[in-house]
Symmetry: C2
Subunit: 234 residues, 2 copies
């Protein structure tokens, strides 16, 4: 086997020695790798993803990949077709509307719940992430933009300590991210707008309503307008 460079492996591979690292570590590694790949759009919707393929790509046995694929299918991040093939589900207008609606219902709510837990230090981190985003936008690095945008939102949401709403939102992001990647591939990243600055100010001022509307506007303008346009032209 030629050991080709994988698009999923960012750092050097781990299995240096035969020692088992810890309980379920391999599965978590595989899970993190595939999740990150989905969130940054490295999987193309409609393209089949094979168990053995990912397994050899990640240098593990098919077993942990099988389990992770089932997990992601349960979160509707992947779709198991009746023949057993697994693929990233392709976006439909109906699905898009639903994801948008769900995001608008849940994300402002969770941001509000997180607000009391956000420290001035967190606001600083958000500021720094947003600066990175601006850099990536002008350099046109869509993959890095998606990773940072995810980091921005979830830095807020995670502060809530939520164990229910957060996983739901997680599932939503996994569902729309691969599609948005294809959108950015068409319209580029230069025209992207967000409401991150308003959100940061709202966090600094601890203004509940301002944060809600910043998040809501970020969603409907950033995702809503762009996506509708693309889906209409298909």
């Amino acid at each position: 086997m030629p050991l080709r460079r994988s698009a999923l492996q960012s750092g050097p591979t781990k299995p240096e020695a035969g020692h088992t690292p810890s309980r379920g570590a391999t599965r978590e590694q595989v899970d993190a790798a595939i999740r990150a790949g989905l969130l940054t759009g490295r999987f193309i919707p409609g393209k089949a993803v094979t168990i053995r393929g990912l397994a050899t790509e990640l240098g593990v046995s098919p077993m942990p990949v099988r389990e992770v694929l089932q997990r992601l299918a349960a979160e509707n991040a992947l779709e198991v077709k009746p023949n057993g093939r697994v693929q990233v589900p392709d976006m439909t207008p109906a699905r898009f509307d639903e994801v948008l609606k769900a995001r608008l219902l849940l994300e402002p709510e969770l941001a509000e719940l997180a607000l009391p837990h956000l420290t001035p230090g967190d606001a600083g981190n958000l500021q720094s992430i947003d600066n990175d985003i601006d850099d990536r936008l002008i350099s046109g690095d869509a993959e890095a933009y998606m990773r940072l945008n995810h980091a921005f939102h979830f830095s807020i949401y995670r502060a809530s300590g939520s164990k229910v709403l957060l996983p739901l939102i997680d599932s939503l992001w996994l569902q729309f991210a691969p599609f948005m990647r294809t959108v950015y591939g068409r319209v580029g990243t230069a025209s992207l707008v967000d409401r991150h600055k308003e959100a940061i100010r709202a966090v600094e001022l601890r203004d509940k309503e301002a944060l809600r509307s910043a998040i809501a506007a970020d969603i409907s303008e950033g995702m809503g307008l762009l996506g509708k346009e693309i889906l209409a032209g298909t």
Copy 2:
């Protein structure tokens, strides 16, 4: 092994002949069995659930059970502890508040989306389910009540044809159902109230707002009041 009567198997077991039924059929069977068990409260929160145990109980190999458990863990219906053990997560006040909030955000919305698709025939089905529920309430059959109450709500929600909101709500029900079972075990079923009648009338009249508030009231009165009371006393 004495082949004890399983609490999960309702009918006679299937694997009569060695013929493979169809693609992934075993997994679906296992998935349906465990899901139904969770929704009717046949699993006790905090009690560990073992792969091999379920496997022999269902008469299958551990493999499909492993995958299904991973799926359900991804939906937060089960919890994988750091040692790998899998159990039904026990309810905490914080978790309960979040589930309640999420239900109130999502379920009235999906009911409204479903309303245009609900026919007079559907209203009749709802009526018949609700009649069954009333019978079970006075006879005190908590397990049947939970199954029918689930059927009532999801008969509405499924009509929406939703592929995003519906799975999210599915996940929520799997999370609170086992806890509610313990609640019914304490307070009995005679005192349960619901807003099903109002919901049915709203469906018949195609009254959007009436349906929303019927569902919302059903949630906050049926689940909210009962749960708060129990959690406060723990």
